[in-house]
Amino acid sequence: MKTSYREALRQALHEALSSDTRVFLMGEDVGRYGGAYAVSKGFYDEFGPERIRDTPLSELGFVGLGVGAALGGMRPIVEVMTVNFSLLALDQIVNAAAVLRHMSGGQFSVPVVVRMATGAGRQLAAQHSHSLENWYAHIPGIRVLAPATIGDARGMLAPALADPDPVVIFEHAQLYNLEGELPADWRCDIRSAAVRRPGSQVSVITYGGCLPKALQAAEMLAAEGIDAEVVDLRVLRPLDTEAIAASVGKTHRALVVDEGWKTGSLAAEVVARIVEDSFYDLDAPPRRLCSAEVPIPYARHLEEAALPQAETIAAAVREMLNA
């Protein structure tokens, strides 16, 4: 069935709200407005203001309420409009959600799901274009997901809600309008990475908004006779290191593509895991293609130059193979 990433997220949320009365959605403008990205359009009328809660501009407060409601037996889905505003809520995620089970000696679990849009590419400038996935991937106690396909947009929410511990879901803002087929087998785990395009010469390892770019690059390369494998990490914490090692073990070359800034990026972690697990499988040093180390500029041509693009991914692969 043809659908969109947005519609797939919407169906997943609809299913969750319909099947479990403990589930409710809360966040800025998720109700009357229909969601900043129109993901929850119509829910307010269908499920009512008690279960589709418009919040004030109080990121720290309502994320904390979500954590507390989870402690109290609910299954809150907290929408932080974008990762940029999640900077205001980090204390409740890192110092409450992620640690309560541990600090209580295992007495209290926190089954909260926090969704947020992430990433650049829409000329929203420096304050609205962050990709801070690696900040979250650094924190023990939370699981971090990055649905990058229509199937994962549809399938990841249910297992996230079933997880008794906190789960953070990053939806790349440029994916909402992605259109395509919803696979029949959209049900999925939230543990494993996925090979989105099998290949033999190089592993392009990425996640989120860079996946479509990597697949496009792989097509371009295929036309030139270069056979690239594209690995979608899907789960950013804990990382599926077996899948990474398996791919690199096959191709002996790895390019990690990440929209985050290069220094301190998740790409660095993936490179480190590759050298730790697969050093002697490597025919060449693993490489990274990340965002330029600059706050994301407004001007379109500058923003495009700051982010990984299909062309630059393809170019990086060519370089690795010709080196």
């Binding site: 009357r32 720290l60 500029p297 700051a306």
Partner: protein, 327 residues
């Protein structure tokens, strides 16, 4: 209400500025449709009397901190319309070099410390600027614009307390348009009388009709004078309304048409000239002249922006850090 300042020439200046904002933003909306302007674009249409009334009551030594809905503030404060338009076009001649766009208009010359895309983000910056002025014995005060929605943010609470505690010369200007994006004030805050909230810190407050440019101007003169004399913060609530959607992405399905229409009857760009005409202080010819001037300025600004150069991609990494040697 008429103030000494409200002489004819001055009244015409206020009207002229409201018209300049209105025409500029109508053009921006058009250019957004034409994809000349991208990203987020938040129109101020309907709220012009706030920026015009407040900024005409301040001096060149005062600091201004604004939000992402700041085209009007930037323009009235004195940034050239061409530099504003070029910024929205992402051109190197923009007032932020094309790096900021609509939400990040900056200008050192007029002490315009920028639009800010983080709701409430400008509040502590404004208090910090005021602290710097106070510690350096500077004369100026700092005017900080923000919306009703921002008052639910924790940073509002922290900033109000710090400003009151340290007696900082900040004029807090809350543009209460009764909505934070699609959420009505009464659905977001239990206390809908924003002055009551501010008074608790404690702080002197005043509520004013934000659709009446003379009332805004008079209230600001009074409030600013108190801030200067007492060296204490003041909270000014400007009740207003945005006639357009929150941003160009907003289908605006959460307000009834009746409410919007009722407010449009109070459109300052109509009611103020009507009043001046009634008072015999504005002729049709004068109004036409002001309209024409605004349109000509907009046309010139677009021309300037169109012709302005793009920054070369080679300098992408510029302005992350201050180059060696620069202060």
């Amino acid at each position: 209400m008429t103030t000494p300042a409200a002489g004819k020439a001055f009244a015409h200046r206020l009207l002229a500025d409201m018209l300049r904002i209105r025409r500029l933003e109508e053009k921006c909306a058009e250019l957004y449709g034409a994809t000349k302007i991208r990203g987020f674009l938040h129109l101020y249409i309907g709220e012009e009397a706030c920026a015009v009334g407040v900024l005409h009551a301040l001096g060149p030594g005062d600091n201004i901190v604004a939000t992402y809905r700041e085209h009007g503030h930037a323009l009235v404060r004195g940034i050239a319309m061409g530099a504003i338009m070029a910024e929205m076009f992402g051109k190197a001649s923009g007032c932020s070099g094309g790096r900021g766009g609509s939400m990040h208009l900056f200008d050192q010359a007029t002490r315009f410390y920028g639009g800010n895309a983080i709701v409430g983000g400008g509040l502590p910056l404004a208090a910090g600027l005021a602290l710097a002025d106070k510690m350096q014995g500077r004369e100026g005060i700092t005017a900080c614009f923000f919306g009703d929605g921002a008052m639910a943010e924790g940073v509002f609470h922290e900033t109000m307390n710090l400003a009151a505690l340290w007696q900082l010369p900040v004029l807090f200007c809350c543009e209460n348009n009764f909505y934070g994006m699609g959420t009505a004030l009464h659905r977001a805050q239990a206390q809908t009388d924003l002055c009551v909230k501010a008074a608790a810190y404690p702080m002197a407050t005043a509520k004013v009709d934000g659709m009446d440019v003379l009332a805004v101007h008079a209230a600001t003169l009074e409030a600013a004078a108190r801030v200067r004399e007492e060296g204490r913060p003041f909270f000014l609530e400007l009740q207003t309304y945005r006639f357009r959607a929150h941003s160009m992405f907003d289908p605006d399905l959460y307000r009834d048409k009746a409410e919007i229409e009722a407010w449009k009857k109070r459109d300052p760009v109509d009611t103020f000239p009507a009043r001046l005409r009634a008072e015999g202080r504005l002729t049709d010819a004068e109004l036409r002249a002001l309209e024409a001037a605004a349109e000509a300025e907009v046309a010139a600004a677009v021309k300037f922006a169109e012709a302005a150069p793009l920054e070369p991609v080679e300098t992408l990494l510029r302005d992350v850090h201050t180059p060696e040697g620069e202060p």
